[in-house]
Amino acid sequence: MTQPILDVHSLRKHFKGSGSFLEGKPRRVKALDGVTFQVLPGETFGVVGESGCGKSTLGKTLLGIYRPTEGEVRFKGRDITRLSKRASIRLKREIQYVYQDPGSSLDPMWKVRRILAEPLVIHTDLNRRAVRERVREMLAAVGLGEEHLSLYPHEFSGGQQRRLGLARILCLNPSLVVLDEPTSGLDVSVQATILKLFLDLKDRFDLTYIFISHNLSVVRMMCSRLAVMYAGRIVEMGETSALFERPIHPYTRLLISAIPMIGKKPGTGGEEAEGIGEPPNPESFPPGCRFWPRCPHEIEACRREVPDLRPGPDGRWIACHLNGGEG
């Protein structure tokens, strides 16, 4: 069996909640509460869920931007959660994170030339000439040209800014790239161009992607495997096609039936189509299975016990006391 490139085990990340003077002690926000999964080299692993489900916290904790409260993240066999500062800087070359909004993550006062050279100056000992070479090469790889070198980030369109963000991380030749909502805010025709670029770069530079998104249609097209998160936990995980064709967890079923799709008659998604309630506030997750207040199949045990992520049919993992209400 192939060694996973990333092996995440029982990862937890708790934050101190806001609390207030009147309410007394602040609550703990359990943004990630026991997340376990593996990513194989060369795959595109999707993480989907609605706002507040912990998908962005997951991405940032994997990278060490947040220090995990508990649990292990192994990258190529090595635990990377407790590295020295030096070792973690070295590691940052190999794992890269692409922010949701590239416009705000590029320094507005710098020209493209300097923005792209910066990581090379920090992380490598290439001479100036080699840095220049590499910057040109990466700019070309994302479909931009030399003429863009002396422009400022605001002079680029949304799609071009994403290209710049990608060129910047590719300079360091990473092996794992975490894409956090990489297409949010883009028009569909621009989105298609950027998705094409992701596929092209993945082949050319042997990349492995973790693709975090709330857009299920995009995830369905891009990812080989997929984890569905709800309120800080993975509720279902498996091959993308199997998961979309036969979702098992009641939340996955609700999520998939809610996608507004052309050609789908409104109000024909069955019991799940509209569902009830909204994703819970991270400061007050319900006890037990966090989906029970919205679940049509909920039984007594769901309110008390947290269901474990257990193996199901066709290589699937499901966290549900009732296996999705099918007994």
């Binding site: 609605e50 706002s51 369109s157 799609g159 028009d187 569909v188 025709s189 621009v190 989105q191 298609a192 161009t193 998705l195 094409k196 596929l199 709330h214 299920l216 249609s217 995009v218 369905r220 097209m221 096609s241 979309f244 609700l254 999520l255 039936s257 809610a258 996608i259 507004p260 799709m261 052309i262 050609g263 789908k264 409104p266 109000g267 189509a273 509209e274 569902g275 909204e278 994703p279 506030n281």
Partner: protein, 328 residues
């Protein structure tokens, strides 16, 4: 075509320019669109296509840099472009036409209770004071209508105590309270999670049927439009490209732009197709049909003249010299 008595909103040859430091942005170029009574019409297009400018022109709430350079807007038989501000406020804005905005978070006043804000609407629009208990009863009914549980208690709460979905329900209730003829919903589900979006769309569908109100539904999401609109107008770079019944538009688009747009949607297991080129700058938009630089069927005519709208099937208009051949 339906008789003119059914026509609630009619926009004809609307041209809007923005005067900026960098020049004149030609935001709308002779746009035509209409909404009949009881109809839900989608206005779709990518960012910068002019959807928002078009609807703001209708309410005459454009920023000061904008000039309406030509065209006519009629609502309920009256000319909105010649109407005085006073008359607009008294009869159109928030009364004949109300708006459900994109962002329910910023559209409610955070320092007043929801009850105060609902009463304000009744006072201002109804012309009678908040003491009118019949009016208040209506407000409570409306909150029940949008499925806000125990509405009387909710009136004492502040906007931040509601979830995103509930806030959008509140906005819908407040928009419908003055019994408008037309509701303009501007990307009103864009900020919501997909499961909540489905609930709000279902709610809107029900209310529209029940109250026989017309809706102009602006969205960039073709899937959402297909779920709620009976007819759809497609915009590109400030021009209206196509106007067709929703099902027909998705099955047999007549304009090359609509076709390319539909093909760039993500499909499982399929190839990714994008539209070559970029959306043009409206400071110097292309002559003729503004899609011609990216269009696979562009000819010499397209570069010179803006095509007129052609009715290729009853109720299906395309602004193109070379509409996509419809397969039988």
């Amino acid at each position: 075509m339906t008789g003119s008595n059914d026509r609630l909103l009619e926009v004809n040859d609307l041209t809007v320019h923005f005067h900026t430091d960098r020049g004149v942005v030609q935001a709308l170029d002779r746009v035509q669109l209409f909404v009949d009574r009881g109809e839900v019409v989608g206005l779709i297009g990518e960012s910068g296509s002019g959807k928002t400018t078009a609807t703001r022109s209708v309410l005459r709430i454009l920023p000061p840099s904008a000039r309406i350079a030509g065209g006519r807007i009629r609502f309920d038989g009256r000319n909105l472009l010649t109407m005085s501000e006073k008359e607009l406020n008294a009869t159109v804005r928030g009364r004949g036409i109300s708006l459900v905005p994109q962002d329910p978070f910023n559209s409610l006043n955070p320092v007043f209770t929801v009850g105060t804000q609902v009463r304000d609407i009744l006072k201002w629009k109804g012309g009678r004071g908040p003491s009118g208990s019949i009016e208040m009863e209506r407000a409570l009914d409306m909150l029940r209508e949008v499925q806000i549980p125990s509405p009387w208690e909710q009136l004492k709460r502040y906007p931040h105590q509601f979830s995103g979905g509930q806030r959008q329900r509140l906005m819908i209730a407040m928009a419908l309270l003055p019994r408008p003829g037309l509701v303009i919903a501007d990307e009103c589900t864009t900020a919501l999670d997909v499961t909540v979006e489905a609930q709000i769309l279902a709610l809107l569908r029900g209310l529209v049927r029940e109250m026989n109100v017309s809706v102009l539904f602006i969205t960039h999401d073709l899937g959402v439009a297909s779920q709620i609109c009976r007819r759809i107008v497609v915009m590109y770079a400030g021009q209206d490209m196509e106007d067709a019944p929703s099902e027909r538009l998705f099955e047999r688009p007549g304009h090359p732009y609509t076709r390319e747009l539909l093909e760039s949607l993500p499909t499982p297991g399929g190839d990714i197709r994008d539209i070559p080129g970029e959306v043009p700058s409206l400071l110097r938009p292309p002559e003729g049909c503004r899609f011609h630089p990216r269009c696979p069927s562009a000819s010499a005519d397209c570069r010179r003249k803006r095509p007129e709208k052609v009715e290729i099937e009853p109720g299906h208009w395309v602004r193109c010299f070379h509409p996509v051949e419809s397969q039988p």
